[in-house]
Symmetry: C2
Subunit: 210 residues, 2 copies
DNA sequence: CCGTATCCAATAAGATACTG
DNA sequence: CAGTATCTTATTGGATACGG
């Protein structure tokens, strides 16, 4: 009985930490658990509801999502808040500091895109495709252009790309024809927009097994 | 029997992946397992032997280290090689692509150093303190200075800092007095060297529990 | 609909002993 | 030294049930 209590208390407090002063080890103590960085990714462009997170994080179970959100909140990366009436629903949003990790994990994604094992045909979340616009933009090609990325209702758009995230990614990053999704507005501008983004060069396949 | 075979085959092949085209998700498929990024960190400045890795990755067990190294090798991040005679020992070294992840995970470490939960008094590896010199250098204060970081025997050094990684970190990053370690050579240069490094500002403590 | 809690099965991690 | 083998424990995921 006593021992069981001790165990359960410890479980909540210390979990499985790296006992290491290295900043990276601490980063992994903070956001190294399974799904944690992906939860943060989903919060990159503003507050989200539980059900939306669950839907977009394909494969996560409700109890794990609850646990990750609680941990991130306790560690100061995520805050619960309530949308103003009439919505009045509870949402989760990243704190300022939590948002500062986003460009770093985005660069991690850019690094991984060079992997020969990367499969871009898998489903992806809405946030992922948006984030890819920030990480895959070519500084040279975008010289003189200011690209601002935000989540919003489309208003007065010169061009809109409409479709599933995977299909839109296929057009913007994979060179798929416009017909595979819905592209409205200035098609020439659309083509110039797409040209701003360049996939990083693939690494040669691993020598041994895949 | 048949089913067991299928299970064991699958275990080796697919493990527990995120089925997500997002680059970040793939990065976590590659180096998201426990210890993987820390193994990569240890390889950041050159090849290492198994026993050295095991010693510096405090708390890792031999079987997990073996598994991580095999996975990283299969994924093209790490290569086994053999030191030239007379050493002739087997070592692990990061591939070019693997090394490209290092600055990214280093930035993750810098981000985490802002955490109020970070405890710099914990033990740290030799690699960690070296890496901190790259991540915590202040561009302003180091303007005009070229800092090159490498692993090597000390040769013709104007200043040397000798001590445990934690103690050296205490002097360089924590403002501890020189007497806590061994500092040889030009003490004034040592002081100017230390001034190049600035810890990032702490975030205010998390509101709820720690 | 928005979560939270609980139970169960599958895996990953940790501890330890052991072998070439 | 460089790992394997084995056993135990912890975490994860899936299903489902439950309260607001």
């Amino acid at each position: 009985m006593q021992l069981e209590n001790v165990t359960s208390i410890r479980r909540g407090e210390e979990k499985r930490r790296y006992e290491d002063a290295c900043g990276l080890a601490h980063a992994l103590d903070l956001i190294g658990e399974r799904w944690a960085m992906l939860v943060l990714r989903e919060l990159a462009y503003g507050p989200r509801r539980f059900s939306g997170l669950k839907r977009d994080l394909t494969g996560i179970s409700a109890n794990v999502l609850t646990q990750r959100l609680n941990e991130l909140e306790a560690r100061g990366l995520v805050r619960r808040s309530r949308l103003p009436p009439p919505a009045s629903v509870q949402v989760y949003e990243a704190t300022q500091w939590g948002l500062e990790a986003v460009p770093v994990i985005a660069r991690l994604g850019r690094w991984a895109a060079r992997s020969p094992l990367h499969d871009p045909t898998l489903p992806m979340s809405h946030v992922s495709i948006i984030m890819s616009l920030q990480t895959l933009i070519s500084p040279e090609r975008a010289a003189g252009v200011t690209v601002r990325v935000e989540r919003n209702e489309p208003r007065d758009c010169a061009v809109t790309f409409t479709g599933s995230p995977t299909a839109v990614a296929g057009v913007i990053h994979g060179g798929a024809p416009f017909e595979t999704i819905q592209v409205d507005g200035d098609l020439d501008l659309a083509r110039r927009f797409i040209d701003l983004f360049v996939l990083p060069e693939k690494v040669e396949a691993a020598p041994a097994l895949a």
